[in-house]
Symmetry: C2
Subunit: 597 residues, 2 copies
């Protein structure tokens, strides 16, 4: 070993002993006679001192040292002289007086300093990821990810779950996103696909009597990448036999509560996981991913709108529009410019405009129309106005925000506005994770071509009472489907699965799969269902997202060692790239060049 | 939940209580009035009893039950009557008197009984893997795999290793085997490759200051499958900074010793890991994967052969041949037929023939030629014979086996014979794992076209003293390369890596890579080496193989939930398979049909 101990581990027990250390030169200060180096490794920093009176040769070498050189040194640990201590690092009371040095590797001048205090573009960070990862903050995130994964192993093992590795080379089946495929060299014209999730495999494991399964599973989706998607991501995948929805929720709840309290992140967890149906969430928050760290519930004001004598409102209502709004407490400091800004914001989400009533804070209750400001104020009758105030529970100092339009747009825009204002007004305790279960999702939704599609995936079970509507009114069928949402972000999705061949076939039928497609794509699972299958259900939970959240990071790229960009390329290793003609020949494939298409 | 407790967990504390169970019908015995069912889940078996006097309706349902139906039952746990206990199962003192039953899923008659006692072809087992996995022996292997992986997590975490997930979609680089590739939809004509191992990524992590890395890593190789290879396998991948060869060995040794003692397999571990150089292994065992659970070391008898007046021998020697042999103790019961059989065996390995001297067990020492049997006996002088006896340490009752020919064939054939005889003569303690480190491998070996190739992989460091031979005599260069061998099987391979750009370029030069290839294939790593890289080394260890060995299984397919066949196809899920024209179009690739090639 090139060292006896790691840099950050030096303590009083090492005082006056001879040890060797190895690491990277972090900072170098040349004080004429003495040269001080901050030597860095993963564990921390130790000050090492080169004194020509101790070793002239070592001191001579030290003159050449530059940032990021890798060295190994031997010497004696001494207490620093009084006043020279550094309370910012754990080894700050000590220094190593070097008597010999070996230079293990030199470094060019790095494109950015390895330190948390500088601001480097993400492109440069990704290209030089090996330098970026040397930063303390990155090491901490990678280490947190390790602890999170380890905790999951321990917790779920204790609960009787078995980790099973399922294949990465599988068969292509349409499951929402596009599959990545792998040409087979052995079977001409055939392909493997990379799993979008181990869904079918884990259901097969339940048929196999596995009872409680989990996997830290890599999942692949060939999507046009949105802001924060990766071509490959990691999922905590789990499945349980002989359970109902509540049993799955309970297992995940207790896992997450214990995990967040145990892994030493800065995050606290609110131990109460609320439960909310999909329609409650849409009604009260305009979103199935409501952020419950703050209030500002939406209120439906359509009834009141009926009586407002404004063309804007009556035209919208005539087209089936609805009016919803919420109260931002103590927001009356917003001025004209702010309202313009917020109006632009909701327009970017599709809304026609933003209606507001701003109530000055120095007002005597009850609030009167003419004491408030708002674009539609002149259209409200006293009755209209009082009803709005009452329903939105607004009072002096508040602002009521309202949007009218079709339900989907109103919900999306108000939900966006609600989140925006909460952030802007600092209403959010950013150190708390507030979970909520969203349940009772519809089983189907219409796609752009007005055909029924599975809202989540094709294997989710309809609520037993709704099975009768499969034939008559699929849109009415609710599913044993549940999402885990935290701080406004979906962290996972689960369901009780269909475990009956006939019912599964009926669902395929509603979606419009032909018998032939069903047999070729799902035949293996349906066949297995003929040999005794337990009722089962489970979840897929985003691991990258969870760790990002625990790290106070917005982007999952921050918690992936070697992530890809939004064009799915790796700036460090340079993938994807051309392959050789020989490789193509062996695979019996031709590339259709873009200009030829 | 459909149950209160699992079947195998019933104990005295449940006696006389009302509980519900769920599981598969394993056996059904109809005793006229009473119907007995063995109800099975992952935890074990519980006898349940249907008595019409307790519930006529449940009893009626029970008449229909068949093997592998899935049911949920409620009832009261009773002690079985004296004499009716079943000591073979943990719940054998109890039975559940059922008062209600729900049939959750019916089953067709399965193609084979779910029991360990039957013999089913592997093809049928793989096609019906969901039934095969229900067998107790399969559940145990999957569970052992879980415990092994969990132990690795715990042990290496404790030692300061961090688990880092590296990408599966990487860039194609030639690393021994063929890459599986994934066409990019976004970048026309470009491909990702699936990693043969995370080699370059983990070295990049060392450059990143990760210090101690491990990963339970899926690795992919598009090989023409030999007996027991899989297109994807799992590797315990690890890498350490600031270490020498011994440090890596020590970390792995202590991991394996503790692991094998802890995971509750039937295997014991011999805690002494021998160390043996590559040339010692080849000289003494004819193999770099020697099985050290038994003796029978090979002896080089070429010196003696010089003096044997036989044309067979002198012709071979004239062609550069060597004579080696070993003594099989107490093997003189082998008769003519056995010797013919063993001769055929070594011929199948390329040997020209098998020379033996069989010494009857009732012989008086010293042994005389004419008291022994052997095909070349008439050619030995007394001096020849005595030297052979002495060198091979043979005595009454033993057989000396010898082969003459070129070194490679002699070693391969004798090594094969040695293993065969050990098995045949029951010389092997099959419950012990006997490890040995093989060190000092050559860095290069010649390929079929007489060019130098990396013997293991291109990143292994030459021994410092041998660097000078890189220019003059590459075949002489030994490497800081080490294999972990157990019971004659390679369980892993490791090395200290090159951490100097110039040295790495020199190695690429010997192998004959052009500057352009080096830059395109390895440029990212070489560039990273310019920014301060610690000395580092590590290993890749086969996880499937380890678990198979701990399970007394020969094939890794036994410890993989959904393995592929030797033609790399999945008989259950049906991969690989054709994909749609739309998918091909999106990827801009054409298939060259086989008949067109």
């Amino acid at each position: 070993m090139y060292r006896d101990i790691m840099c950050g581990k030096i303590s009083s027990s090492n005082e006056e002993t001879k040890i060797s250390l190895a690491g990277w030169v972090s900072k170098r200060r040349d004080h004429g006679q003495l040269i001080f180096i901050d030597l860095r490794d993963k564990s921390g920093i130790m000050q090492i001192v080169f004194n020509p009176e101790v070793s002239e040769s070592a001191h001579n070498h030290a003159k050449d040292l530059r940032s990021e050189w890798v060295i190994s040194v031997s010497g004696t640990v001494k207490k620093r002289i009084a006043g020279a201590e550094n309370p910012d690092i754990s080894t700050g009371n000590y220094e190593l007086i070097v008597d010999s040095i070996e230079i293990l590797s030199k470094s060019k001048t790095p494109p950015f300093e390895v330190s948390d205090s500088n601001d480097v573009s993400e492109e440069v960070r990704l290209k030089y990821r090996f330098l970026d990862l040397r930063r303390d903050s990155m090491q901490k995130k990678i280490s947190l990810r390790h602890r999170v994964t380890k905790f999951i192993w321990e917790n779920l093992s204790q609960k009787g779950f078995t980790h099973v590795e399922t294949p990465i080379l599988i068969k292509s089946t349409p499951e929402g996103a596009r599959d990545y495929v792998v040409p087979s060299r052995v079977k001409n014209g055939s392909f493997y696909a990379l799993p979008q999730s181990p869904q079918q495999m884990k259901q097969m494991l339940m048929v196999s009597g596995c009872d409680r399964y989990f996997q830290i599973a890599r999942c692949f989706r060939d999507e046009d990448l949105r802001a924060d998607r990766q071509p490959e991501h990691t999922q905590l995948d789990l499945e349980m036999s002989f359970v109902h929805q509540e049993d799955v929720m309970e297992a995940v709840e207790s896992l997450y509560i214990d995990l967040i309290s145990s892994v030493n992140s800065d995050m606290k967890v609110d131990k109460i996981f609320e439960k909310m149906t999909y329609s409650e969430a849409m009604n009260n928050y305009g979103s199935d991913k409501p952020d419950l760290r703050f209030g500002m519930q939406l209120k439906n004001l359509t009834d009141i709108a009926q009586n407002i004598e404004s063309n804007v409102i009556s035209n919208s209502l005539a087209n089936g529009g609805i009016l919803k709004g919420f109260t931002a407490k103590n927001a009356s400091s917003y001025g004209r410019k702010d309202f313009d800004r917020l109006t632009d914001l909701v327009k970017s989400q599709g809304a026609g405009g933003l209606i507001y009533i701003s109530i000055p804070s120095d007002l005597q209750e009850p609030v009167q129309i003419d004491q408030t400001n708002g674009p539609l104020n002149k259209f409200y009758s006293k009755e209209n106005f009082d009803s709005i105030i009452q329903k939105t529970e607004a009072s002096a100092g508040d602002v009521i925000f309202m949007i009218i339009g079709d339900e989907k747009t109103v919900n999306a825009s108000l939900s966006f506005l609600r989140n925006h204002i909460a952030k802007e007004k600092n209403l959010i305790d950013i150190d708390t994770m507030k979970f909520v279960w969203i349940t009772d999702f519809p089983l189907f939704e219409k796609d752009d071509e007005n055909n029924w599609q599975a809202a989540h995936h094709v294997f989710s079970a309809p609520k037993p009472d709704d099975v009768e509507f499969l034939d008559t009114d699929p849109g009415k069928v609710k599913a044993d489907l549940f999402d885990l949402v935290c701080n406004g972000v979906e962290l996972g999705s689960g369901s009780i699965r269909i475990h009956d061949r006939k019912l599964q076939e009926k669902v395929f039928d509603v979606i419009g799969y032909s018998k032939k497609d069903v047999s070729s794509l799902f035949g293996h699972l349906l066949d297995a269902f003929e040999y005794g299958v337990p009722p089962h259900g489970g979840m897929g939970l985003g691991l990258d997202r969870l760790v990002a959240m625990l790290s106070h990071e917005e982007s999952i790229r921050e918690v992936i060692a070697f992530p890809k960009t939004q064009t799915a390329s790796d700036l460090l290793f340079g993938s994807p790239d051309v392959i050789s003609e020989d490789q193509l020949d062996e695979l019996s494939i031709n590339i259709i060049k873009e200009e030829e298409e």
